[in-house]
Symmetry: C2
Amino acid sequence: MVDVAKRAGVALSTVSYALNGTRPISEETRQRIYAAMEELGYKPHALARGLASKRSKIIALLFPTPERGLGLTELEFVTSAAEAARNNGYHLVLWSLPTDSSELRQLLQQGLVDGVLVMEVHLNDPRIELLRELEFPFSMIGRSADSSGMSYVDIDFERTTQLAVHYLAELGHRQIGFINHSQEAFAAGYGPTVRVAQHFDEAIATAQLQGVSTFCHDSVSAGYEMFNQLLTEHPSLSALIVMNERAMSGIIQAVSERGWSIPDDISLISLVSSARVAEMTLPTLTTLEPPIAELGALGVDLLIQQLEAHDRELPQALLPCQLVVRGSTGQVRRTER
Amino acid sequence: MVDVAKRAGVALSTVSYALNGTRPISEETRQRIYAAMEELGYKPHALARGLASKRSKIIALLFPTPERGLGLTELEFVTSAAEAARNNGYHLVLWSLPTDSSELRQLLQQGLVDGVLVMEVHLNDPRIELLRELEFPFSMIGRSADSSGMSYVDIDFERTTQLAVHYLAELGHRQIGFINHSQEAFAAGYGPTVRVAQHFDEAIATAQLQGVSTFCHDSVSAGYEMFNQLLTEHPSLSALIVMNERAMSGIIQAVSERGWSIPDDISLISLVSSARVAEMTLPTLTTLEPPIAELGALGVDLLIQQLEAHDRELPQALLPCQLVVRGSTGQVRRTER
DNA sequence: ACGTATAGTCGAAACGCTTCGATGAACACT
DNA sequence: AGTGTTCATCGAAGCGTTTCGACTATACGT
């Protein structure tokens, strides 16, 4: 940098001002400085910049160590977050820690990152508590129990559920089943499970339909059994909303095993499920697809906005899933069985 | 740090030596220093450390922007790399760039990262060329055309292919088909496609079997058609090795459509395919599962080893996939059709 | 008793940048 | 002519570490 300054015939600090626009610089000297930088192949040193300015322009993505099975979704999320960060001139580091790890505190206090984006937030999340305690800037994907005064983005589960129910209603379905994640996930306060369970009932009531809501473990066999059980107890169901990708495989097997066809005998909608999975079956699945990339990018944007704005408002946002109609849904057209 | 020094009654530099073990420190003063740090809640500042020592202890994971669908595998890879980095006291930043992006140069010259781990290396990869040109430390997952003198980890495709072929041979199969990724991937020099194509022929020859090798686009419908075409032309095939998860779905549909059962009428092995996908079908798929987490961790280890060792040797490693026998393979037991 | 290692410590100079206060010059307004 | 503003620039003091050279005891071999 000192070389650049010399070559441009200005002071060191002037170069800095030209670089950051922190103070006005005449067009002429700016030109000279940029030319000098170009000729010398100068690139500012990120660490030094961070040390001096006390802003590293690095944010962390806090990411629970995947205990069991991670979806495709998460990866897209991570990459879109990384890209959004880069577009804002930030770097994204990955901190993959168990939710209750004490390491987080250490990491935060290293002063490496300006802020944190927290994924897979649980209703009672020790990470959030720590962040609040340290008054460390953060945003969340998903929400904790009391998310007032905090910055988050999440799927708009209410709208998403409505979309699914209304779409089926339009097709003439009056008896709709809902297969959720497991009871355990519900009890643990896992956001999507809790919220959709609630909003399903509401949407059914509003639309004056009949609904059956049930939990199901995240496994192919559980899906298989749950479907059979459900249709034994409620033989008049003509459509199913499923928020459980693994169970969905089992359900499809169970359907074809009874010699039924999709969607003639039963319509299926996969909730909060990616296109990738939806297109692996025959027929392909009508889904409500989560706006993963948008969520990731938005999460990063909100965080950075928070870091760079001086005002104390903490932005929040809800995004609905998008209805993608494929082959697994159709007009209700059942006479009798 | 100056406070810690004062409180412990030593010089600033002594605290630094105690912290890094760079010079001998008497046990007694070390105790005093640690106590002082504890009491003051002192944590060393990562950026300052990096600036002074010229080693940021940050590495980048270079990650092609997913043009077309990313597998589950990649995410596990990313998380295991992040964890491995942390275990070594490093941070992992994500750089998700198109392979031919000019941005990479900028990023490297910022001096933020000590080294780079490159994913999804192509045979002729501009990123690798740039890294060599700048003499920037790096390791690869996968290999470029000439990977001599470079550090990499990769799947041992030769061994993996052998395992698959031998396993089928043991079950009595003599006529084995192989369904690869697309011709285009092969032409583009995509490592797995090229290598397995070659090693399949070798393994077949060595085992004195008959083999048919074919390419197939990465789609359900292409798999469906390819299967029918293959079995029309080679009706005596009794087993298929498939390295194409999407095509696999189509294959299974085609099989069940002709009223065949797996594995009685045909055995299927999914190559370099994750458990998650393998368990979504009925029957579950026998696979050769890539050691994703190991690859990620090993890649990071090799890179860090390279960064910290002074000698100029560049470590390399090949890891085979692991054979996981599930329901899609069995003794050949065909009389006639 | 003597030089010579060696362990333990100190002070000060980097590392490459940002930012604060100060300084001049140019311009307008009384 | 004097006063005040704004614009453009400069010099120097940090930011929180590491690391180098130097210094002081103490221990060692002879």
